[in-house]
Subunit: 388 residues, 2 copies
């Protein structure tokens, strides 16, 4: 028996499709890594072999995203939900160190995930300012910075944005500049569903965070890219004196960084997949090349959908549309069912929208081939010609 | 290319050896699950397929450990370190619900892991009573309950023990009965390194917790077996009023249970490995059979080491010795190096002790074959005959 599969045309939102050659290598390495008669998941997380997996993965991220020396990469167990809490605990502990006081946080709520992030910071006991809120228009656009509430520059530790909202299908097309973001307020971005899909200027961010399971690997690891100065934190005693909640130790950024992401037992097999995915990305031409492909995929899909406005509705306004999660609806549930059934007949799967939004969602992450998107485009047109 | 490896004789302490046939199946399923042309790690964690993985794994644990209806099984991301925090947050929130007040916790410190657990509870702001402490004798024995400090029955939420200390190589041979443990104080046991190695009476525990990466699978998931009544917790407002720290939402037991372990994105591939391991355990005769084998493995290894008291020192007292982690030292570093080198020549690997303790450690978890332990025993004797 050998490892075999046909190339799927899979548009699931996550955990998502991985490159087939990466997954084949991962399967071999799970079973027998470098002919040691042991799998990569069976060895000590503090062994040289494991440390090399971590170091290589970090180096790949640094290369791909051109991460400056001012920033560090690390990995923690968990996903977005754990990250929400970790961001608040750690950025506030840094703010307390910087200023000697308890800060507040600014959140832009542009979809379901940033909403959850803001709610979690608030629940944990932090003072949260919602500076932008797209809920009134069902998150169908990201409000321009000129309409955002001004940030309380004297008391705010960070501004949190979700760069790409997986469920609602919107994406930022720029980051807030100095005309909006006061100096000293750190920019934090959740890039769980678009990390490594496009170039970013890491130097502009205090923190970039991303769950691995959409563009980079399996569920279970979260990638953090942090400005090193943010690792300076008030002591536990200082935090208690300021009535600032302490992070559970597994979520403490300085502790994790000091232990090269292996303070607790890092899931090394999951990290190894990140290594393989990022290695392939480098070999395939890096982020610029990938960005070109992603822009092309999004362009042909949105254009096909736009051609039939009576059949396909695109809820998200044009300049806020996600390049990763293409959300669209049809006029009736019957038509939506027929669309899904016809797609499935053509081996186009994973297209059902999120339960909270309905309709369709085509997630066209890095690993989704141009050919798959072209097949989907052909079906979008074929279905429209028959049903419009 | 197909999946090949020779059977290793690997005694690493964790992440640990997994059954070869399980790992082979996992590698196939990682790549292509049930001929869907998608791997088990590439699908939605809320899909029927993923839910079946979770449900089957839960059912296997219930069957293997004969878990009564009063208890529930769930999984969370992370490992022991995250579990330390989660235990304190959640058990205290339950105590507040039960009593309307902030409780304290009793910890038995019998090795490095229970020490860390107690420190974390204290750091988070909980009142901790150390009721037993083996540090004075370097954790070479577990003090008898008759010598433990009495528990403050009117104010204590739970008693925490680490059933098997992986680093120091000791293990409880009984659980505290009513003559020591007051009614209403819940027994919490960390069984990360001996879960599924022996029968346990689950009804006696409020909570059993275990990282997966030693006896059950890859790093990245923690197994919780909880008395359902402990899922009742004071509200966030009530906790704030009592000055009890809130759990980050990803560690909140009621939230995780209400979402069948998929509130956040459960690493479903990792869970699938747990399913395969537990399924195999059932097919191979269940816990009783496994316990017999484990007792035999420990018996022949300890007996061989005891035969040469001038060469092999067993620091842990006889009735506190672990059946999983056999710790021993040799009289000099030269002899220890020679032992490790000789072992490696015979493909006996993973035997170096933990950096904090030194010496040797043979971890003989469920997946370590009797044949591997017999080979180690033969080498222990051979080496002693040459060097004593």
């Amino acid at each position: 028996m050998s490892l075999q599969r046909e190339e799927a045309n899979y548009f699931g939102a996550g955990p998502a499709f991985l490159p087939t050659d990466v997954l084949r290598q991962a399967a071999y390495d799970l079973f027998n890594f470098e002919n040691a008669n042991l799998g990569i998941g069976e060895i000590s997380h503090r062994s040289k072999t494991a440390m090399k997996v971590i170091d290589d993965t970090k180096a790949n991220f640094k290369e791909l995203l051109n991460i400056p020396d001012t920033h560090e990469v690390f990995f923690m167990q968990g996903g977005g939900t754990g990250a929400f809490s970790s961001v608040a605990y750690n950025l506030m502990a840094n703010y307390a160190k910087r200023t000697g006081k308890k800060g507040k946080a600014a959140y832009a709520v542009t979809g379901g995930w940033s909403k959850k992030a803001a709610e979690e910071a608030q629940r944990l006991g932090f003072d949260v300012d919602i500076v932008a809120n797209g809920k009134a228009n069902n998150f169908t656009s990201i409000p321009p910075y000129s309409e955002w509430k001004a940030i309380d520059a004297d008391n705010t530790a960070y501004l949190y944005v979700c760069d790409n909202e997986t469920v609602h299908g919107n994406e930022f097309n720029s980051i807030p500049g100095p005309e909006y973001l006061p100096e000293g307020v750190e920019l934090v971005a959740d890039t769980s569903s678009n990390i490594l899909s496009k170039k970013v200027d890491v130097s502009k961010y205090g923190l970039i965070v991303a769950g691995a399971q959409k563009n980079v690997g399996l569920a279970g690891l979260t990638i953090y890219i942090i400005k090193k100065s943010l690792l300076e934190q008030a002591s536990d005693d200082e935090l208690r004196a300021l009535n600032i909640p302490l992070s559970p130790i597994a979520l403490s950024f300085p502790v994790v960084v000091a232990n090269n992401s292996a303070y607790n037992t890092i899931p090394i097999f999951t990290c190894h997949i990140l290594r393989l995915v990022t290695q392939k990305l480098i070999e395939d031409g890096g982020i610029e090349k990938k960005q070109e492909q992603n822009e092309y995929k999004a362009k042909i899909l949105y254009e096909a959908l736009e051609k039939y406005p009576s059949l396909y509705k695109l809820p998200v306004e044009k300049n806020s549309r996600s390049h990763m999660n293409v959300v669209f609806t049809l006029p009736s549930e019957d038509l939506e069912s027929a669309f899904l059934a016809g797609a499935a007949e053509r081996d186009l799967t994973g297209l059902k929208g999120h339960r909270s939004v309905g309709g369709m969602r085509a997630s066209i992450y890095n690993a989704v081939a141009i050919e798959s998107v072209e097949k989907l485009v052909a079906f979008v047109i074929e279905f429209a010609e028959k049903n419009q």
